[in-house]
């Protein structure tokens, strides 16, 4: 090590006044930088997956299925794929960041500073929303070349995109907090998130389903996210966008409250 520097330089109490807004901003920056540094894996790969879905399903169903009157299957599918990508990637971001920090042990760097539960929550959720939206925009930007697109009500598109991303970011936080190992988190992903997105009307209109499966779909909050989001593109949907908005707002509020309470209590984070 180097010879000691001048003593006065190390005197305590000369630190500039701390600002808690900086803490939140720094965590948001760090969480965003984390996925951005590996964007090939966190953004480009899910975009490719979305495009593959469109190519395969579009090729099979374009000439056979017309989910909404006058709407091509591929055009119908694109908003579904965009939203599915948003949901899955928002979830993946917060949940994987948290479990990695827990397993690597570097979560301690977040637990030692004077960050509040709300700051932790907002930073994790916002960074995950950013990743979800980045992937969603990417999927849209690539798939839109394969089928005509319409934007009848852009505000609905924006509202459901952000609300859906925030909801799944909060679910990801809960999963990351509850899980102690990667395989537990994978179980969340494989047995909850993937089935819930696949059975929510990403690939089909629930109107074409048998009554039991229609009722089953309507019990799934993800259905309302996708249906409301699609309304923004076609002004057609399986249920009223207002009903979707109400369900999504309530579901999002509930999972956010659970995640925030867990953080406040230090559940599985502070022993």
């Amino acid at each position: 090590m180097n010879p000691p520097a001048p003593m006065a330089a190390l005197a305590i109490g000369r630190a500039p006044a701390p600002c808690s807004w900086v803490g939140f901003r720094t965590l948001l920056y760090k969480e965003s930088l984390r996925f951005w540094k590996v964007s090939f894996q966190t953004i480009v790969a899910p975009i490719l997956t979305g495009v593959l879905y469109l190519l395969v399903f579009g090729h099979i169903f374009d000439t056979r299925v017309e989910p909404f009157a006058g709407v091509h299957y591929s055009s119908f599918l694109i908003p579904g794929l965009v939203m599915m990508s948003i949901l899955q990637n928002s979830f993946a971001n917060s949940s994987s960041s948290l479990i990695q920090s827990k397993i690597m042990g570097n979560l301690v760097f977040l637990l030692l500073p004077p960050l509040s539960a709300l700051q932790l929550f907002c930073a994790y959720v916002l960074a995950s929303v950013l990743r979800g939206l980045a992937v969603g925009l990417g999927v849209f930007a690539v798939t839109v070349w394969f089928a005509p697109a319409t934007f009848v009500a852009p505000l609905w598109i924006a509202v459901f995109a952000v609300a859906g991303a925030a909801m799944l970011a909060a679910v990801g936080l809960i999963a990351g907090i509850v899980s102690e190992k990667f395989d537990q988190l994978a179980a969340f992903q494989n047995f909850l998130i993937v089935p819930a997105t696949f059975l929510s009307g990403v690939f089909y209109s629930v109107h074409g389903l048998a009554p039991f499966w229609q009722a089953f779909s309507r019990a799934n909050p993800f259905f309302y996210i996708i249906d409301g989001f699609r309304y923004g593109f076609f002004a057609q949907s399986d249920v009223s966008p207002w009903l979707s908005l109400a369900v999504v707002a309530a579901s999002c509020g509930a999972v956010c409250a659970v995640a925030l309470t867990m953080l406040r209590r230090g559940y599985k984070l502070r022993t």
């Binding site: 003593m7 000369r14 701390p18 803490g23 760090k30 690597m104 570097n106 004077p114 960050l115 502070r270």
Partner: protein, 305 residues
């Protein structure tokens, strides 16, 4: 009286059936270099975790620089820098990014001058733009120390900072910590290297099974518990009156433990009286390791600060 750097009152932590800390009372005054010793599982890390807010006490209170660690956690955490025991790091970032981020978490946005100074002192300048993953264990340990210092905390806690660290880094680290201590920082250290604690710490607490068994000024503790060791080579037998004090026996000599240096004269007198001439005599200073073993072998009893 000035505010204590760390003040624990009746601090208890229970995990299911295990009592990790049992009504610990401890006051560490500002400017101390304090040692926390004890075998594995004694409760050292639990105590540090509660002070740092990483764990929550089952009952009792802790204050850091007068700030309660739960009710006033922001001020308490700003006053505290913790170097964790585990060699943890974030593989996504470089050393400089890591230090800037950690500084930001403490609410300090423009802190580069201080970060540079900490890096100079810990010899990290060459590694500033290297990813954490590429650093050796010793370098990672230095970054952990740097991270604990980014917000210039008045109280610094090091949880076994020299475990698995090479001699050069260990000495450099202690030199740096001594300087921080001279500049007014309170340093709290847990270590398994008793020699280190003896050299560095002005006061020592010994923990066992969640209780403080000894809490004293290092020199007094050494004097009170270990006394002095006297190696004697005699022409003749050891007088029976000294047999109880024998701690080691060799073909040529014996080692006695006397509770105070003034007993040396009496012991020599006893030998002379018995007709055994002293051919060689060596008085060794007290050793913290002896104290440690002696305290740990005693039945746990509670001791207040």
């Amino acid at each position: 009286m000035s505010i204590a750097a760390i003040e624990a009152r009746a601090l208890t932590k229970r995990y299911a059936q295990v009592t990790a800390l049992d009504a610990v009372d401890l006051t560490i005054v500002q400017g101390e270099f304090f040692g926390l010793l004890g075998p594995n599982g004694a409760g050292k890390t639990t105590l540090i975790s509660i002070i740092a807010g990483l764990a929550r006490a089952s009952s009792g209170r802790v204050r850091v620089m007068g700030h309660d660690v739960t009710d006033d956690y922001r001020a308490a955490r700003r006053s505290l820098g913790v170097v964790p025991q585990e060699l943890v790091f974030d593989p996504f970032f470089t050393v400089r990014e890591m230090l800037r981020i950690q500084s930001g978490y403490f609410g300090l946005a423009h802190n580069d001058a201080w970060i540079d100074e900490v890096m100079v002192n810990l010899d990290l300048v060459d590694k500033a733009d290297v990813n954490m993953r590429a650093l050796s264990g010793g370098m990672k340990r230095r970054v952990l120390v740097a991270q604990a210092l980014v917000h210039r905390p008045p109280v610094i806690v090091l949880d076994e900072p020299t475990a698995g660290v090479d001699v050069e880094l260990r000495q450099g680290l202690w030199q740096f910590m001594r300087r921080l201590n001279r500049d007014g920082h309170t340093i709290v250290l847990t270590t398994h290297y008793l020699e280190e604690a003896q050299q560095m710490c002005s006061r020592i607490a010994m923990l066992k099974a969640g209780r403080i068994l000894a809490l004293e000024n290092t020199r007094d503790l050494l004097r009170r518990i270990a006394g002095v060791q006297v190696a004697l080579r005699l022409r003749g037998d050891l007088p029976p009156v000294l047999r109880e004090q024998v701690i080691e026996r060799y073909p040529e000599h014996v080692v006695l433990r006397l509770s105070h240096p003034r007993e040396v004269g009496a012991a020599l007198e006893a030998c002379r009286h018995f007709g055994s001439d002293v051919e060689e005599l060596e008085v060794a200073p007290a050793d913290l390791e002896d104290v440690f073993l002696q305290v740990m072998s005693e039945a746990p009893r509670r001791s207040a600060s």
